[in-house]
């Protein structure tokens, strides 16, 4: 089977944009890379950039696995992707706004209404709400992959609480400290201004005047993405709050502070839709804030992402995203979907059930790779078990053609460098317009042949470099202005003469230093 490697062409020679990187890696040598990898783990553990793995032999506080060989995306390729992502986010946002309003796309039959309203993410309580600027999904992350031909495809959309951006920023910081040599010959577009972009977008949402109070709302320190929540709050310089810190009075949201209640204008929430408000949504939610949905509906507080966005990242809705792009934007999709089959459709179902061993089957309402079944790497018994589950409740499942993900040379567990499968999660912020972080989180499957990239299941990551237009590094020119002449630094110390005379001593006895 033919695979697509992003650095090395089929004939074994480096691709044009990668030859410099490969030279630098060779100069660095394998030993240096291994040594840097050891230092990386020590630094990550020290800084607390860790995650927990799940399962029977799950570990706590493992250093986040960053592979030191970066992934390169040439500038022209990225521009294309950026346009494609923007288009997708715009269409998804229009879809959410439409579903909770007139539902035109449903009445026009482009997306079946019975499918939309039965999705787990469909939130009836959001109906009729008009969020500021008509934006619902302020932060999104589409998962992209490259197939065996090297073509980029969208694999799924995350418009609820996509996580991973903190690793993008931390990976870049770590890379620049561990292997600064690799940056010497490339102009890499920086990713560090994500927190500023997010803060500006959140402030713009706030209903009140003056300087708006923005908070990051986390489910709490036990959440697996708590590191990221704290990271974003710290970098934006805003408060990190839990449900108990917030209170709603008269449909207005407040923070409990030592100096009394303080008005909150915008909430970047990392709590799942269903848990936001026990009065309006799941009544058993201990994380939520009673009355928050009402405050949101009345426009007294902005919530990003708006409650209800989950309807758009359902995997059955994914199938219709290309149609949405045509319907709302009148454009052809720039990034194609992976061919998908809806198992609620009897014809498609029969087809899929006959070919289970060749397809990937996913539960629709889940995220993070949970419950995904990969046909070509599964055994007979698993296939039979899945067949039973699908027949029991077909609308819970979709099937996709297996995509043989592209590969990147990777240092697997300090062993030799070998190709491993990768995907890409770029992050977009929808403020005045859609802004996409150059690059995103590249996840890599560390096991040979595996296509499971999720870090909770042993996947690693790579720093993703979007190269600047000319690719080559611009050495900084002379300063743009002439600094003034400063006074000299004042200095004091022993004079050599003083020291010699002291050392000689009165009787010539050696007064050794202690």
């Amino acid at each position: 089977m033919e695979l697509y490697d992003e650095l090395i062409a089929a004939d074994g020679s480096p691709r044009a944009h990668a030859s410099v990187l490969i030279d630098s890696l060779n100069r660095l040598g394998h030993e240096r890379l291994v040594a840097s990898a050891k230092r990386r783990d020590a630094i990550f553990v020290q800084q607390g950039i860790t995650f927990d793995t799940y399962g029977p032999d799950g570990e706590r506080d493992r250093p986040f696995p960053l592979d030191l060989i970066p992934r390169l995306i040439p500038s022209r390729e990225w521009e294309e992707l950026e346009r494609g992502i923007r288009q997708r986010v715009l269409a998804l946002n229009r879809f959410i706004a439409d579903v909770y309003d007139a539902g035109e796309i449903l009445s026009d039959g482009v997306v079946p209404w019975e499918l939309a309203v039965t999705r787990a993410g469909f939130t009836r309580e959001a109906h009729g709400i008009k969020p500021p600027g008509g934006v619902w999904c302020h932060v999104s992350g589409c998962d992209l992959v490259r197939d065996a031909g090297g073509t980029w495809r969208a694999l799924e959309d995350n418009v609820r609480v996509p996580s991973g951006i903190s690793y993008v920023l931390e990976n870049r910081a770590a890379m620049s400290r561990l292997v600064p040599e690799l940056f010497t010959d490339y102009a890499v577009r920086p990713v560090g201004d994500y927190p500023e972009q997010l803060l500006a977008a959140l402030r713009a949402l706030a209903p009140g005047g003056g300087t708006p109070t923005v908070v990051v709302w986390t489910p709490g320190p036990a959440n697996s993405a708590y590191f990221e929540h704290a990271f974003l709050a710290r970098r934006m310089g805003v408060e990190l709050v839990q449900g108990g810190d917030l209170v709603v009075r008269d449909a207005t949201c407040y923070l409990r502070t030592t100096t009394g209640l303080a008005r909150v204008d915008a909430i970047y929430r990392r709590v799942d839709d269903a848990f936001i408000d026990p009065l309006a949504l799941r009544p058993d939610s201990l994380l939520g804030v009673p009355g928050l949905m009402r405050a949101f509906r009345e426009g007294n507080v902005a919530i990003a992402n708006a409650p209800g966005t989950g309807v758009a990242d359902d995997k059955a809705i994914y199938h219709y995203v290309p149609e949405m792009i045509r319907y709302y934007l009148g454009e052809e999709p720039l990034i194609a979907n992976v061919p998908t089959y809806l198992l609620s459709d009897p014809e498609q179902r029969a087809e899929v059930l006959a070919n289970l061993d060749k397809l990937v089957v996913k539960p629709t309402g889940e995220s993070g790779g949970a419950g995904v079944f990969v046909g070509p790497t599964s055994g007979e018994r698993e296939v039979e078990e899945l067949r039973r589950l699908v027949e029991l409740e077909p609308s819970r499942w979709i099937a996709q053609e297996t995509v043989w993900l592209s590969t990147m040379p990777t240092m697997s567990h300090e062993g030799p460098v070998a190709p491993r499968h990768v995907d890409l999660r770029p992050f977009a912020i929808y403020g005045d317009d859609v802004w996409v972080v150059p690059g995103g989180l590249t996840r890599v499957a560390m096991q040979k042949g595996s296509m499971i990239v999720n870090s909770s299941r042993g996947g690693g990551s790579k720093d993703t470099w979007v190269l600047a237009a000319d690719g080559a590094r611009q050495h900084p020119e002379a300063p743009a202005f002439d600094p003034p002449t400063l006074p000299g630094m004042r200095q004091v110390g022993w004079t050599e003469q003083q020291r010699q005379q002291q050392q000689a001593g009165p009787t010539g006895s050696a007064r050794g230093r202690r």
Partner: protein, 327 residues
Amino acid sequence: MLARIANDLYWLGRHLVRAEHTARMLDALFQAELDHWSEHPSSVRISWRSIPLLMGASPGEAEVVEDDARETVTRQLTTDERNAVSIVSCVSAAREEARTLRDTISTEMWESLNTFFLELQKPDLGGRPRTGPHSVYAFVRERCALFWGLSLSTMQRDEARSFLVAGGRVEAADMVLRMLRVALPPVRPADDATKELPRRDGNALALLRAVGGLQAFMRSQAAPPNAEPVAHFLLVEADFPESVAASAEALHRSLARADRDPQASPPVLRLRRLLADLELRRHSTVPYDELPAAFREIQQELGLVEREIDAHYFFREAAPEGSLVVQ
């Protein structure tokens, strides 16, 4: 207390703070350089060639540094023992002073500083700034913090400690002023004056990182980290410990405590005038274009305070001025 001992304590404080600020500054510059991207508005314009100027070299001398500016400057400022302002030289000098003062400072302070010095003498240090500068600078920061922390918990709060802290604060105020003067463009480009300021200003961000104040700024200021608010923050913010005003305030507290008669003490009185000036600036909006002149005046005034300190407490002429030696 003997004037000589007080002078040694004062310079012990100065040398350690100089080493710490230099380490932070170089680390921030490395970071900024990697963020550099020519087409991006946030690209950092400050270059390695500005650093000799910052450390007091005259523009003629600084011209010598050419293509490998980064390597030359880092070496000169990190490991070069011939340069009195390099980190290694500052720590060596501080250690010599501490050795002289072993009966005055606590044993724990001496031991932590001596370990610091010995660690920097290890032969593999020379290669590290080139490949992994961060580890060296992080080490310097940590060791300096350890020393000051031990001084807080193990040293009597007497005259001796006052001179130690006074030296540290003079140096901090001086270094931050130097960075402000070199990193911020003297005038806002004319065509930018009417435009909305960018969300992100590479120079200003690098400056905040160089002083270790990025987080403090983000938490306390509503404005985005641009040149103007950052300059204001680093110059007059009362609650950020490394701002010029906060350092001057701490210097004043130390001197007032050590001085027998602060009301009649020339350095204290001169310092009070400087503090009043900074206080005034805190409450007024200085137009951006007038900032360079303000920085210059404040640094001159601080230099005069230093002279008064030397004359009044140490019976000395002002310490000589030197600069980074450019080879």
